[in-house]
């Protein structure tokens, strides 16, 4: 598989290109190759998502390799989100192509429908069903290719009847047996019905019945079709002014009994499709659609609002999804001093972040707090260069901490203060303009960390660390532990004695120590 993407680090996330019930789609660029990709982010924490369902859908898309289907490039989990990376198709959707007006050239309709049929034939041969065929899910590339997209994840997830109803527009593409839930629900012939609706839509500008009925009413009308001519009469196919071949093609798509409805492979041999097989300028005709759309957008000042990807938005959404009071639930259980590696978890247990503070996160708290020093005339050139650099380091660490932990206002201020102290210590302040002092500070830091992480005296070093990190659980833990061990609490127990770790606690704690040591090595 070419260019598999396995982590968010490989990507630059750009503007939003679409939005569905289950997440947002962004345009992205692979840093290494400069190749464009589509990034679909699905929120795994929202309450309707079923992981097993999503897994099944990813299997389906990962099993498709065909130039008429958008290619799957990989997926991974980032915090509470699943990122699915797909080929980016740069021309826009068929739906957008209809903005300047319906496509009255039957040649073009046939070209588009043929590519869709090839994709459907491929899917159906593998026992896969698209389930949500409509013009929004057909994409055009600037090279003139036509590609099906958005089957799998979104289609399957929105396939339950109730959810479909909420998606305005989709009912118009539904086959009668899907609405009635006959013959065990969806068969692949339902896709053919939808394909017919798409062809109609391309020529007419709107799917059948959309001009006549609201979605629910349309559903009723479609489901009331029993004879083959019912639907065709209802949508007024004979008054559409199309060629007899196109008319016949649509008639084959709108056969009410799915068993008699034509299959994709049979429709590929239909004269409406085959008559243009020898055409050489197919791609050119498709490209022209894109140009038309772009011109039309320009004339009508259709401006796309570019919503750019903001990583912190996830954090905020997370809060929103969990409800504002979510953090009030966070009780620190006393599990005999068990604590876990804060770094290795995506959600460290810090208490009650104040959301008002979060939303006004200043760009650079350090810059602010150190501003007065900028005016200090004694600063030399070197410091002028280094200071912003070091500021960057501090700011970066601060933001990392801030995004990973929902800092409370107090914690936030404390860290800002700490940063200021550090900044002073390393003597970008004129008062400490002595190289030796700088070195001393760093040496001290180094020794301290070394001492804390020392292997040779694990007991003492660890017990100090444990107390430093877990002061709150210390006293309770040791008292109860003593009680457990000796049956009765000894009143004058050595307050320095730390409760013994059990197996998990030990491994968790060791992981923390090791990680910290690695970081400072």
């Amino acid at each position: 598989m070419l260019g598999r993407i396995t982590s968010a680090d490989e990507l630059e996330v750009c503007e939003e290109v679409g939005r569905g019930a289950f997440g947002v789609v962004y345009r992205g660029v692979v840093k290494e190759t400069n190749k464009q990709v589509a990034i679909k982010q699905i929120d795994l924490e929202s309450d309707q998502t079923d992981l097993f369902e999503i897994n099944k859908e990813i299997q389906i898309i990962s099993e498709c390799q065909l130039s008429q289907i958008t290619q799957y490039l990989g997926c991974f989990v980032k915090r509470y989100q699943l990122w699915i990376i797909m080929e980016f198709v740069d021309g826009g959707s068929l739906f957008e192509m209809l903005r300047p007006g319906p496509i009255k050239d039957e040649t073009v309709v046939s070209i588009i429908i043929k590519e869709m049929l090839i994709a459907l034939d491929y899917l159906h041969n593998q026992g896969k069903i698209h389930r949500d065929l409509k013009s929004q899910n057909v994409l055009l590339s600037k090279q003139g290719e036509i590609k099906l997209t958005d089957f799998g994840v979104s289609a399957q997830l929105s396939s339950s009847f109730s959810r479909r109803n909420t998606t305005v527009g989709t009912p118009y593409w539904m086959a009668p047996e899907v609405i009635l839930n006959n013959s065990g629900g969806h068969s692949f012939k339902a896709d053919i019905w939808s394909l017919g609706c798409c062809a109609y839509e391309v020529y007419n500008g709107k799917p059948p019945l959309q001009n006549k009925f609201p979605p629910m009413k349309a559903l009723q009308r479609i489901s009331s079709c029993y004879r083959n001519n019912d639907f065709i009469d209802m949508i007024g196919l004979s008054e559409l002014g199309i060629s007899s071949l196109f008319n016949d093609f649509l008639t084959k798509c709108f056969i009410v009994d799915p068993r008699d409805r034509y299959s994709a492979s049979k429709l590929l041999n239909h004269k409406f499709i085959t008559q243009y097989d020898k055409l050489t300028d197919k791609a050119k005709k498709v490209k022209k659609l894109i140009t038309n759309k772009q011109l039309n957008d320009l004339e009508n000042h259709v401006v796309k609002n570019h919503n750019f990807y903001v990583p912190t938005e996830i954090v905020r959404n997370q809060q929103k999804w969990n409800g504002q009071d979510e953090n009030d639930n966070r009780i620190e259980f006393d599990i005999s001093s068990i604590e876990y590696d804060r770094d290795s978890l995506s959600s460290p247990p810090l208490e009650s972040p104040s959301s008002s503070k979060k939303s006004m996160t200043p760009e650079s708290p350090i810059e602010k707090s150190t501003k007065p020093k900028d005016s200090d005339p004694k600063q030399d050139v070197l410091i002028k260069i280094l200071k912003p650099e070091f500021n960057k380091v501090l700011n970066k660490s601060f933001h990392k901490l801030e995004t990973r932990n929902n800092l409370s206002t107090k914690e936030y201020d404390q860290i800002v203060n700490l940063n200021e102290v550090i900044l002073n210590l390393v003597s970008f302040n004129a008062n400490y303009n002595d190289d030796n002092k700088k070195i001393l500070v760093f040496q001290y830091l180094k020794y301290m960390l070394k001492e804390l992480g020392k292997e040779s005296e694990p007991e003492s070093a660890k017990s100090i660390l444990q107390k430093l990190i877990l002061p709150s659980s210390f006293s309770k833990a040791s008292s109860i532990n003593q009680k457990d061990e000796h049956g009765e609490a000894s009143s004058n127990y050595n307050s320095l004695k730390v409760s013994k770790f059990d197996e998990i606690e030990k491994s968790l704690f060791e992981a923390w120590v090791n990680k910290t040591r690695e970081k400072w090595a």
Binding site: F333, D334, S347, S479, L508
Partner: protein, 337 residues
């Protein structure tokens, strides 16, 4: 597909033999000649598919299917195909899967001759499939075939009895998302499809299972964590497994408390589905009771704020209130200051 028949008329037996020959040649060939044999395999596999499930023009013929199946068993064709799975081209692998599961479903006198064949003659097929997640390109296909196989209790039993089964606790942590989740689905199916079998298995392998699932529940990966908690709660929900000593061990309770303490609401809820059994169990072990008593106030505070009304999970609110009541009945302890 019918044009193939006209140009290249072959009986089911001949097709099977032809695919066997081509597939073996994949071993020694590279480059263009390998491509040639891949194409041959692809063509024959499509012919097999048509015989088994038919196409637009041809309905499947029972006698043809029977000839095909007989030949596949007697020449160990399934074994050859699975053995060479990664050498076949992308779409052919999916055809192998379709053919395999179709044969599995085929019944003679209420029995699947394919299952009999696999268990009695070529269990190596299952062993190969069990190692599927180790090869990225065929991981998903092997997973699908394996899950079709384990629908049959006798195969499920065979897998649980083999040490390769435990590898799945490693496979679910493979960094490639699809492979990891596919392995999870397989693991899930292996442990939830045939309940009585699984219950027996868990009784005999309790320690190893708990060590493994506990490890997964402490993963730093949100998906691994959520799926493993979910799996455990599903296993516990089966009534055969509810008297397990799992609920007597303090370690298990601690891990579940960590899950309750997670920021993810979904994890909290999944954790609660297990936690409730610790509380509801009439006779609690001393260690478990100690932890519960020690945390009584924490639990009360937690469950008072455990806001789950919007999740619409049946009985969840009632269960929460019941558990809260039970916790309030726990004895208080005197804290030593």
């Amino acid at each position: 597909m019918s044009f193939l028949f006209k140009r290249n008329p072959k009986t089911p037996q001949e097709i099977v033999r032809a695919v066997n020959e081509s597939v073996i040649k994949l071993d020694s060939s590279v480059g263009d000649s390998q491509k040639k044999y891949q194409d041959e395999c692809s063509r024959y596999l499509k012919q097999m598919k048509v015989i088994l499930i038919g196409d637009d023009e041809n309905a499947p013929q029972p006698d043809q299917i029977s000839y095909l199946a007989q030949e596949i068993y007697s020449t160990d064709s399934l074994y050859l195909l699975i053995y060479h799975l990664k050498k076949l081209d992308f779409d052919s692998r999916k055809d192998v899967q379709l053919i395999f599961s179709n044969l599995l479903r085929r019944q003679l006198a209420n029995k699947s001759p394919t299952v009999d064949y696999i268990i009695n003659s070529k269990p190596e097929i299952i062993l190969m499939l069990l190692k599927g997640p180790e090869t990225h390109s065929i991981g998903l296909i092997s997973g699908q075939i394996l899950r079709d196989c384990l629908k049959f209790e006798i195969i499920n039993k065979f897998i649980l009895g083999n040490s390769l089964f435990w590898n799945f606790f490693k496979y679910v942590q493979i960094p490639i998302f699809e492979i990891a989740t596919d392995s999870f689905i397989t693991l899930h199916d292996l442990l939830t499809t045939h309940r009585k079998l699984v219950s027996e298995f868990l009784n005999n392998n309790y320690d190893q299972f708990v060590i493994n699932i506990n490890k997964l529940m402490q993963s730093s990966n949100y998906v691994t964590k959520r799926q493993s908690v979910r799996l455990l709660s599903e296993i516990i929900l089966q009534k055969y497994n509810q008297n397990s000593k799992y609920f007597d061990e303090a370690t298990n309770l601690k891990i579940i408390m960590l899950i309750l303490n997670d920021k993810s609401k979904n994890l909290q809820i999944e954790g609660f589905q297990i936690f409730k059994f610790f509380i509801a169990k009439p006779k609690k072990s001393q260690k478990v009771l100690d932890i519960l008593v020690k945390n009584k106030e924490n639990f009360i505070a937690f469950f008072k704020g455990f806001d789950i009304e919007s999740y619409q999970i049946p009985n969840l609110v009632e269960e929460r209130d019941y558990i809260l009541g039970k916790i309030q009945q726990l004895p208080d302890i005197e804290r030593i200051q």
